[in-house]
C-alpha cells in the first residue's frame, strides 16, 4: 500500500514539474479544447514563474496567519487571556465568512493593486483552521500531565513551551496544512487585482473563451494543493515520529 501511494505521489509531482517547465509538450492534449486556432497552452507568461509566485504569496500569508492564530490560541487558553476568547473567535470567524473577493474589493482602495490585497485576503481566510486547531490542541492536554508539570515546578512559560505546545503541535500543524491548501486554491482570485499567479491563466481563459486555459490553470492549482498537503503530511510524520526503541 505505501509503495503504491509513493508511486502515485511521484507521478503527480513529475506531471506538475513537467507541465510547469515544458508546457508546450502538452499542447496536443489541450488542442481539442480550443477553437479558431487559439493557442492551447497559456502563452502570455511563464507558467513556472506564475506558480512559484502564487506559492510564495500563499506561504507568506500562511506564515502570518499561523503567527497570529497560534498566538491568539495561546493567549485565550491562559487564565489571564480567557476573557478574550469570544472576541478572538468572532474576529477569526469573520475572517473566514467574509468572502475573500469582498476583502480584495475593500483592500484595493487602501493598499492598491498587486500582491498586497491578496495577502490580506488569504491571511484573513486562513486564520480559522489554525486558531481552532490550536485551541483544541492546547485544551486537550491531559489534566494529569499539566498538574504534574506544575507540580514538578515548571513556571507557566516552561509548561507552555515544553509540555503544552509540543503536545498540541500535531493538531496545530494540521491546521496550518489545512489553511495552506485552502489558500492555494483561493489565491487564484488574486489575479483579479493583478497579483501574480495561476489565476491569470484562468482569467485569460474566461476572457477569451479558451477552455484549455481555464482547465490548465485549474489543474495546475489543484495538483499544487494536493501535493503540498501530502508533502507536508509526510514531513510532519517524519519530524514528529516518536522516539522508539529498536
Amino acid at each position: 500500500m505505501p509503495r503504491a501511494a509513493t508511486v502515485v505521489r511521484l507521478a503527480a509531482l513529475a506531471l506538475l514539474v513537467a507541465f510547469l517547465t515544458k508546457p508546450q509538450s502538452f499542447a496536443p492534449l489541450f488542442a481539442p479544447l480550443t477553437q479558431y486556432g487559439a493557442p492551447p497552452i497559456y502563452d502570455q507568461g511563464n507558467l513556472l514563474q506564475l506558480a512559484l509566485a502564487q506559492l510564495g504569496t500563499v506561504c507568506l500569508a500562511a506564515a502570518a496567519s499561523s503567527l497570529v492564530a497560534v498566538g491568539l490560541g495561546i493567549l485565550v487558553t491562559r487564565p489571564s487571556g480567557a476573557q478574550f476568547l469570544p472576541l478572538s473567535r468572532t474576529l477569526v470567524n469573520i475572517g473566514q465568512t467574509f468572502p475573500p473577493v469582498a476583502v480584495l474589493a475593500v483592500a484595493v482602495p487602501l493598499v492598491g493593486f498587486g500582491e498586497k490585497p491578496t495577502l490580506i485576503a488569504l491571511f484573513a481566510y486562513g486564520l480559522l483552521p489554525i486558531f481552532e486547531n490550536t485551541l483544541v490542541g492546547l485544551r486537550t492536554c491531559p489534566p494529569a500531565v499539566l498538574e504534574a508539570a506544575s507540580g514538578m515546578g515548571m513556571s507557566a512559560r516552561q509548561r507552555l513551551l515544553s509540555v503544552e505546545l509540543p503536545l498540541a503541535t500535531p493538531l496545530i500543524l494540521e491546521g496550518i496544512r489545512l489553511s495552506l491548501v485552502i489558500n492555494v486554491g483561493t489565491a487564484t482570485i488574486g489575479s483579479t487585482v493583478a497579483a501574480k499567479g495561476l489565476g491569470e491563466v484562468i482569467i485569460a481563459g474566461l476572457l477569451s473563451s479558451n477552455t484549455a486555459f481555464i482547465l490548465q490553470g485549474g489543474l495546475l492549482t489543484g495538483l499544487m494543493a494536493i501535493l503540498l498537503y501530502d508533502g507536508l503530511a509526510a514531513l510532519e510524520r517524519r519530524l514528529l515520529r516518536p522516539v522508539t526503541l529498536d
Binding site: 504534574a148 507540580g151 514538578m152 515546578g153 516552561q158 522516539v243
Partner: protein, 310 residues
C-alpha cells in the same frame, strides 16, 4: 519537618479545608485519609502551593513556604499523582530528568541520577531509558512517576492517591517499594489515600479528615484503641479493628521466649498473618525464626489474641 498551622481554604462560601494544624516528623510517612470531599487532596496541594491557602501557613524545616515563588518551592518537593501524569512526548529518562533539568544540573550528574533511579526501581536502563511512557505497563509507569518525583533528591515527597490506578498485586508491590525507598533516602512522605489498608500499612501516622477538618492524627494503633471521634472508628472499621491492630505488630516484636513445634514464621510477618497461619494449621503456637535460622522465640494463640485488645 513540616508544620501545618491553622490552614484553611475557602472557595466563596464553601470551606474545603477548615483550620487544620498538623506536624509531620522528618523521615516519616504520614497518610491522610478521609472520604471524598473531605479536603484531604486540597490539604496536600496546599503544602506545595498548587492550591494557595486562604489563611494559615505551612513551614518546611522552619521556613515559610511563601518565602519563595511557588514554582521554585515545588522543585524542592517531590509530587506524585494518581495516573502518574508522565509527559507522553518524552522518554522515560527525560521524564525522570525533568526537575534536575529545571534546577540546571549538568548532564553528567543528570545521567548518573537517572541511571541510579532506574536501577532502584528495577527498570533496566538499556531497555527503558529511551522508551516512551505508553510503551510501559501500568506498574512501570507508576514507578517512573515516583522516580521522577525523587529525581532531585527532595526532602519531602507528596503523593496524591499514588497507587489508586493499580491492580491489587502491583499495588502491594508498589507499597513495599515505597517503604524501601523511603527508608533508603530518608524522605519525609505525606500521602493521601482513601484506602484504610494502605494508610495503615504505610503510615507511621494516619491523619483522618472529614468535612475539611482534621479529626485525629496519630499512630495507627492509637486511632484504633483511642479514636477521638466516632467518625474515626467508623472509618477505621469497627468490625475488624482487632485484626487491624494485629496487622500493625510484627512477629519479631511480639515473640516471647520459649520453644514451639508449630509452623515457622519470619520476624517481619504481621501477627494477623501468624494468627491466620495458626488457624489454618490447627497448631496453638508458632516458631519465630530469622532468615539465617536463629530462633527468636515463640508466639502462642493466647499471646497473639492479647495483642489484639487495647
Amino acid at each position: 519537618m513540616i508544620a501545618v498551622e491553622n490552614l484553611s481554604k475557602r472557595y466563596g462560601e464553601t470551606t474545603v479545608v477548615d483550620g487544620v494544624s498538623l506536624t509531620v516528623e522528618r523521615h516519616s510517612i504520614t497518610a491522610i485519609v478521609g472520604t471524598s470531599g473531605s479536603g484531604k487532596s486540597t490539604l496536600l496541594r496546599m503544602i506545595n502551593r498548587l492550591v494557595e491557602p486562604t489563611s494559615g501557613r505551612v513551614l518546611i524545616d522552619g521556613r515559610d513556604t511563601r518565602a519563595e515563588p511557588a514554582y521554585l518551592l515545588r522543585r524542592r518537593i517531590g509530587y506524585v499523582i494518581q495516573g502518574h501524569g508522565l509527559f507522553p512526548h518524552r522518554t522515560v529518562a527525560e521524564n525522570i530528568a525533568t526537575v534536575p533539568r529545571l534546577l540546571g544540573w549538568n548532564e553528567r550528574r543528570i545521567g548518573a541520577r537517572v541511571r541510579e533511579l532506574l536501577e532502584v526501581f528495577a527498570l533496566d536502563p538499556a531497555t527503558y531509558a529511551g522508551a516512551l511512557p505508553h510503551q510501559l505497563s501500568g506498574g512501570q509507569q507508576q514507578r517512573v512517576g515516583v522516580a521522577r518525583a525523587l529525581a532531585a533528591e527532595p526532602l519531602v515527597l507528596l503523593m496524591d492517591e499514588p497507587f489508586g490506578a493499580l491492580d491489587p498485586i502491583i499495588r502491594a508491590k508498589a507499597q513495599d517499594d515505597l517503604l524501601d525507598i523511603q527508608r533508603r533516602f530518608g524522605t519525609t512522605v505525606v500521602l493521601v489515600t482513601h484506602d484504610m489498608d494502605e494508610a495503615f500499612r504505610l503510615g507511621s501516622k494516619v491523619a483522618v479528615m472529614s468535612g475539611g477538618r482534621l479529626l485525629q492524627c496519630d499512630r495507627p494503633a492509637v486511632l484504633l484503641t483511642r479514636p477521638a471521634d466516632p467518625f474515626v472508628s467508623r472509618l477505621t472499621g469497627l468490625a475488624d479493628r482487632a485484626m487491624r491492630l494485629l496487622s500493625l505488630v510484627t512477629a519479631g516484636e511480639a515473640a516471647l521466649p520459649g520453644a514451639s513445634d508449630g509452623p515457622a514464621v519470619a520476624p517481619t510477618t504481621s501477627l494477623r498473618e501468624v494468627l491466620s497461619e495458626l488457624v489454618w494449621s490447627g497448631a496453638d503456637s508458632a516458631r519465630v525464626i530469622d532468615v539465617d535460622g536463629t530462633v527468636r522465640g515463640r508466639l502462642t494463640v493466647a499471646a497473639i489474641l492479647a495483642r489484639g485488645r487495647p
